[in-house]
Symmetry: C2
């Protein structure tokens, strides 16, 4: 009997699919990483489905790769070992909204937009905004963040509790509903960001916020990148509680104007947003005007109504698609390093230099309030395209970030793309991660081949990567 038929004996057969189109849709994500067909796709509708599937997979050594909406950018959901793709989109119930405690309980397949639509009825919102309408389970699995993280934090800061099915079918809750705790080990934050390699999330308790009395967005235009970065740093230094703080290159604004029918000045810009009471936003705006003027800002345009504001953030979020739209048939390799704020100007400069030298096309955009920078590079799957050149570009930027004590991935996750930098970034700590993986998933059935290969020999890898480190990637 084949795998799909066996699985149909365990859970209702309409939750098991081997339809070719469905298999194709689960073979890839939004990244450039090569697709890999899986054997079967499961659509669980309740926790018990997952428990049974996992138990079966564990006994029979079958890979289980969780899948949300497939908006990942590092291949975390690509089932590289085949087996089962576990699509959680039918587990999309908002289980409880608790406005008094600013908490919601959701199933993992609920999407960000779906949740915010419902929360709006209570005057609440969920803060993490990666752009894509991802599932909350997927966002927790990669510790996603985005434009509002500078004020409201990453997923890890906003997940209060998880229900998790472990590799052997045991079910745990990692946290509780209290705002703080010193009880036991912090399993919640161990599981957030583990990309499905330690367990399958079946329920999430999330912290939400009251919709601010006043929301004001603005575009600030600067003559140079350095002035824009210094202006951003000055805001953070004096502690303005800015809610969004995005860096956009002039070239990107050109694409955005073309795609979105806007007429933003096509020069280095910061897209910003203020949240607060009327009085506090007025105070924050005044201070910002002063600091930006001191740093060469030559236009500060406010979007006070919701349509102008929505247009602005839609433009920002569509920057990746705008780039593709201008270059039909191409894909984008998106770098994702995050560095300490003092290294921001340097890493932008280094990225530009590498791009120019490589002759690659693309642009730079960044959540610069967090030191997180994306260079979107156009790539082509045609054999004539020099993929090695793109990989070298990505690697040079990662190594530069690591030399600045930064990280190879600020928000997209490790997946397939950043595996090769794990030993360089984490050193001996990677062995500790592997020990934890091994004790919780000894048969390596949970999203195998992601973050690290459990069979790697750490010492050799570290040595090799360090040997290959080019001189040009040094921080100073």
């Amino acid at each position: 009997m084949n795998l799909a038929n066996k699985l149909k004996e365990i859970i209702p057969s309409d939750r098991v699919s081997t339809n070719e189109t469905i298999l194709l849709n689960h073979s890839r994500d939004d990244s450039f990483h090569p697709a890999r067909f899986t054997d079967v796709v499961i659509f669980p509708e309740e926790k018990e489905d997952i428990i049974e599937i996992i138990k079966f997979a564990n006994i029979n050594n079958i890979a289980v790769t969780p899948f949300g909406i497939g908006s990942g950018l590092e291949g975390s959901a690509i089932p590289v070992n085949g087996g089962i793709s576990l699509d959680l989109k039918k587990m999309n119930k908002i289980l409880e909204i608790n406005p008094e405690d600013f908490l919601v309980q959701v199933q993992p397949g609920v999407t960000r937009v779906q949740l915010n639509k419902e929360l709006g009825k209570y005057g609440l919102f969920f803060s993490v905004d990666p752009g894509a309408d991802a599932t909350l389970g997927g966002m927790a699995s990669t510790n996603a963040s985005g434009t509002t993280t500078v004020r409201y934090g990453m997923m890890k800061d906003n997940v209060r509790d998880l229900e998790v099915v472990l590799a052997d079918g045991r079910v745990i809750r990692t946290g509780g509903n209290a705002k703080k705790s010193s009880s036991g080990y912090n399993l919640t934050e161990l599981f957030v960001g583990s990309e499905g390699t330690l367990g399958i999330f079946t329920e999430l308790t999330l912290q939400v916020y009251g919709i601010p009395e006043v929301i004001t967005a603005a575009r600030a235009v600067f003559p140079t990148t350095n002035e824009a970065i210094h202006a951003a740093q000055s805001l953070l230094t004096v502690g303005v509680p800015i809610a969004r703080l995005e860096f956009v290159e002039g070239k990107t604004l050109k694409y955005l104007n073309h795609v979105g029918n806007t007429n933003y000045i096509e020069d280095t810009s910061l897209f910003i947003e203020f949240h607060g009471s009327k009085g506090s936003v007025i105070a924050d705006v005044e201070l910002t005007k002063k600091l930006f003027n001191q740093n060469g800002c030559y236009q500060l345009h406010f979007e006070t109504n919701s349509s102008g504001r929505n247009r602005l953030w839609e433009a920002r979020h569509n920057s990746l698609y705008a780039l593709i739209h201008q270059n039909p048939g191409k894909q984008v390799m998106n770098t994702d390093v995050c560095v300490p704020l003092s290294k921001l100007a340097e890493v932008v400069e280094f990225t530009r230099k590498c791009k120019e030298e490589s002759g690659l096309q693309g642009d730079i955009i960044g959540h610069i309030g967090d030191g997180n920078l994306h260079a979107g590079i156009l790539i082509d799957t045609k054999p004539s395209f020099d993929m090695e050149k793109a990989n070298q570009f990505n690697e040079a930027i990662v190594k530069f970030a690591l030399l600045c004590s930064g990280t190879c991935t600020g928000e997209h996750g490790v997946g397939l793309g950043k595996k090769k930098y794990q030993s360089l970034q984490h050193g001996v700590a990677l062995d500790v991660m592997k020990s934890i993986k091994n004790v919780l998933d000894p048969n390596n059935i949970l999203n195998p081949g992601k973050i690290f290969d459990t069979t790697e020999i750490l010492e050799e890898k570290t040595k090799n990567v360090l040997d290959q480190c080019p001189a040009g990637a040094e921080a100073e």
Copy 2:
């Protein structure tokens, strides 16, 4: 050869002590938990001392219990298995202050006040304030928090990176300097709060903040507890970024006035503090006045200069000592539950009722912006004192908090006092914690007997504790 002499062969002999007074000082903390003499106290001066000691202890199955200044309130530093008390106070160097990135690197024996004195020169401060001048290593080990957590978070939110010596002498770094990361498992937050059971911290990288332009403190006096709690909740609901929000009973104010020569009105009060720019603090104060008036506040007294403000917070921090001062010869058992905000009024009421029924003496104080409540109960080590009654009181409050999806410890840690509630609070997740402990410290040398006993059989414990749960402890 005895243990001390063997250790003197490994590290310089002046770092090894068996002096009776020193042994006594390392046999206890600030809690009521019984003292336990250790065999030897080590004062390492560099990381290499710790590595050598740990390797020796691991081979020879000797317990190693880290010790800061001994200000813990749950016995986490009491060496219940004897062996080595590892006193880190000589590793007290501030290694680097990086104002541009709002980061500092310190050794674990640096204390909070020591760090803030140095940071002040740069216009910076470290936010976590548990009252005691604890070491930062100790604070990280229990995931300490305190009066400023409502705005700036717990230790886990402010530790960016740790250097840790593992049980086998390997040294790892858990994080990096970037503000956010999705790379690998989040080991930093696994180690923070692990109370020295997973490794010894040898270096901490901490996030710090700019000293706000304006700091304004105030006392708000209310006729009833419920009105004070509702006023606090209303502030949080509208999102006033309050920096401290403390609940103090009228009775406690009586002690404080007596000890501190103040003349605060002896009625239920909130001690609050605003941080921000001049404009934003004015806006926050105005909104607070309005909300407090609507909730029955009959006096709102501002302390705008630093001496009045320091007097206020000193009084708040001294509340525990004021209670002891009024009752010479007594000790304090301090409860530490944390509950969702909606359950706050109920848990205060329940705590009062239990206290009245038990006839125990003491008062209630709370970081109510976080839902964290302390009932300080006077206890006596004389045999005539009914210790069982105090334990039952503590247990009733813990069980009430757990029925509200809260935690048995908001900030003091599990140590010895909250071990018995771990299976009730964490269920099967406790087995996962034990698996992690076992894989990282298979010989159980690191602070054995804390958080959990590795030999416990989980299922039986859970069943027993649940069976004993009194009907009166139900939330609804």
